[in-house]
């Protein structure tokens, strides 16, 4: 019972009169962890609330392990939920909190105590079984919440920004623990977060959401290398996005124009096919100082910041301000002219959008 597949089929939902989910389709395979990633207001939490049953979709179906949940009340859905603010029952001790769901299921009192204690031990809180939530730290509370959701052995686990109230170090430890428990039990899970690094580190696949729709749903590795558009690219760290236009082709080489009148040559062998109009997206480390004129973007160096493994420069170019990296052994003074070499491995050619449209999402 611990793993079932989840399907959202054409889910739309409204908040007052605003459409917050727009024909959403997601399939989560049994034992898979899928993250919903996006800025606040993108619909990720609403999606989770629709699956959990706190909100009714105006359209579409929620199916878990072949069972349709769409119209079931929350308490019959059998989903293990972990909340952002832990949502522990303040009047119950740790063990009573963990036993709460078992009690609702009519598990005998000795059996539920045994199961709860076992789960409390797994999350490492055996010393705190009789404490009230108020006497626990944030990390401990979240582990109680985790144990409480796991102990009912639900076919689906859902996490609503579970780590956002914890400090940075604990956040990393906890996400490892969540991933370990999830994979060990081969549990199907939906994980909501706004933290890209968190989502990528623990997910099998990540759905990047915007305005109630899924923009891209892929494995983290694919998202990282091959964003489908400027919105996703910006989300995964392509900080330089400039429109390009092919002004001449010569076999596998294309001459492209950036900004007003900068022309450089780009090889389709390196970058893949380049349409006549496109966006060139690069990470800061994908633009290196000291490029070869004609194949690199000419720019003037501005503010320099130290990143440890490299220097980062804010460069003024014909196509606007670009972030580029330079050798940490050879710091450059500002106001010099430089050529920024484009590293194809850290770049992507994206479908053209008007600058206004691509800026709006930023």
């Amino acid at each position: 019972m611990s793993n079932a597949s989840l399907s959202l089929e054409g889910i739309s939902a409204f908040h007052d009169s605003n459409k917050v989910l727009d024909n959403l389709n997601i399939d989560v395979a049994a034992g898979e962890l899928v993250s919903l990633l996006g800025a606040s207001g993108c619909g990720k939490t609403t999606t989770l609330r629709v699956i959990a049953g706190f909100m009714q979709p105006s359209q579409g179906r929620v199916v878990l392990g072949g069972r349709e949940l769409t119209h079931l009340p929350v308490h019959r859905r059998d989903i293990g939920l972990v909340f952002q603010n832990y949502a522990l029952l303040p009047h119950l001790t740790v063990v009573d909190n963990v036993m709460f769901g078992l009690k609702q299921r009519g598990v005998s009192s000795s059996e539920r105590r045994r199961k709860a204690m076992e789960m409390i031990e797994i999350v490492g809180l055996s010393r705190f079984v009789d404490r009230l939530p108020a006497a626990l730290s944030g990390g401990q509370k979240q582990r109680v919440a985790l144990a409480r959701a796991l102990v009912i052995d639900p076919p689906l686990m859902m996490f609503d920004e579970p780590l956002s109230n914890l400090d940075a170090k604990l956040r990393v430890d906890m996400r490892v623990q969540i991933r370990r428990l999830q994979t060990a039990g081969e549990r199907t899970a939906v994980y909501v977060t706004h933290d890209q690094e968190e989502a990528f580190s623990i997910s099998d696949r990540v759905a990047i959401m915007d305005a109630g729709r899924i923009v891209q749903l892929d494995a983290p590795e694919v998202l990282y290398k091959r964003p489908v558009n400027a919105f996703v690219a910006r989300f995964v760290g392509f900080e330089n996005i400039v429109p390009i236009e092919v002004v001449g082709r010569d076999g596998g080489d294309a001459t492209v124009r950036l900004g007003k009148d900068t022309r450089i040559a780009m090889s389709e062998k390196d970058f893949g096919p380049i349409p006549d109009k496109a966006l060139l997206a690069t990470r800061p480390e994908g633009l290196q100082l000291g490029g070869e004129p004609g194949r690199a973007i000419p720019a003037t160096l501005g503010l320099r910041t130290y990143l440890g493994r490299a220097y980062q420069y804010h460069c003024a170019s014909d196509a606007g301000t670009l972030l580029a990296h330079g050798d940490v052994e050879k710091p450059q003074a500002p106001d010099q002219t430089a050529h920024l070499a484009i590293n194809p491995a850290q770049s992507a050619i994206l479908p053209y959008e008007t600058p206004a449209a691509s800026q709006e999402d930023a």
Partner: protein, 283 residues
């Protein structure tokens, strides 16, 4: 004496100076008169408790005492139950609706006991609305005695104190995090079980505070008891008034006064003890 030392001493004296006038007012005008009243109940040497023995050996006094306590208990039960529904409604409302409901709760509290008891005289009187309806529906032949009964007294007191119960409960209900209720239902608790196992236990502090306010208030509610209970349904405050102003038996009146104060304090102490046991660490 150096300046810093003076400063230091002023710092220690300042709080005492600030509380002095208030303390004097309370001690001289409240504590002393009450103490004087209590001292009047002390019997002659050798039989210090004579007045209390006399009070408690009267069967009528026991009747009044029992009635006082049962009326207060009924009132508390009704006010807290009614208050709970209203408070849940307020706590779940937002914006304008919440404002309106709050005002609807507070407003009766700001109109006096006389006005509010009078309303029930109009409703429950011989020619009141209830009797007229019963007569016109042919359910009774002659007006029913509704007023000046224990029931009319309890209705009037519940009406008087439900707003207090609401206000005591709204706070605790507001303090219950939505996600705690959501978590409970996601763990499989039906709405009724969420109420019984989560909402109700978390509302206990408010129930205790509200319960004490309503119970002690009912014990002492003279005007309502008098107007809706009349002379046939005496409770301690109306009995005190009668002893003091009709029979001019001030010793008996003082004894009743002392009994009322002791009862009030006892209830508060018991409630405190219960509150400590149930104190759920919030947050």
């Amino acid at each position: 004496m150096s300046a810093p030392l003076m400063r230091h001493q002023f710092g220690r004296v300042a709080p005492l100076l600030l509380v002095l006038p208030g303390t004097l007012v309370v001690v001289l005008m409240l504590v002393l008169p009450i103490g004087d009243t209590f001292s009047e109940t002390i019997g002659p040497q050798g039989d210090r408790l004579a007045n209390y023995v006399k009070f408690f050996s009267s069967q009528y006094n026991w009747l009044v005492l029992n009635r006082t306590l049962s009326v207060a208990a009924m009132t508390t039960l009704i006010s807290l139950s009614l208050g709970f529904f209203a408070a849940m409604m307020i706590s779940r409302s937002r914006g304008q609706l919440r404002q309106v409901l709050m005002i609807a709760s507070v407003f009766p509290l700001l109109t006096g006991a006389i006005v509010r008891s009078f309303a029930w005289m109009v409703i429950l009187g011989r020619n009141g609305m209830v009797n007229q309806s019963l007569l016109s529906l042919g359910l009774v032949d002659a007006p029913v005695q509704l007023l000046f009964t224990q029931t009319s007294m309890v209705i009037g007191l519940a009406y008087l104190f439900t707003p207090l119960a609401i206000l005591s409960l709204v706070g605790v209900l507001d303090a219950i995090d939505d996600s705690v209720l959501e978590a409970s239902s996601s763990l499989g608790a039906s709405p009724l079980k969420v109420f019984l196992q989560v909402t109700l236990p978390l509302a206990i502090p408010g129930l205790i505070v509200g319960g004490v306010l309503v119970f002690t208030g009912s014990l002492a509610a003279f005007a309502t008891a008098r107007l809706l209970g009349g002379e046939s349904q005496m409770i301690l405050p109306t009995l005190l008034h009668e002893k003091a102003m009709v029979s001019f038996d001030w010793t008996s009146a003082s004894t009743i006064a002392a009994v009322m104060v002791v009862m009030t304090i006892a209830i508060i102490l018991v409630a405190n003890r219960i509150a400590r046991r149930f104190n759920p660490a919030m947050g």
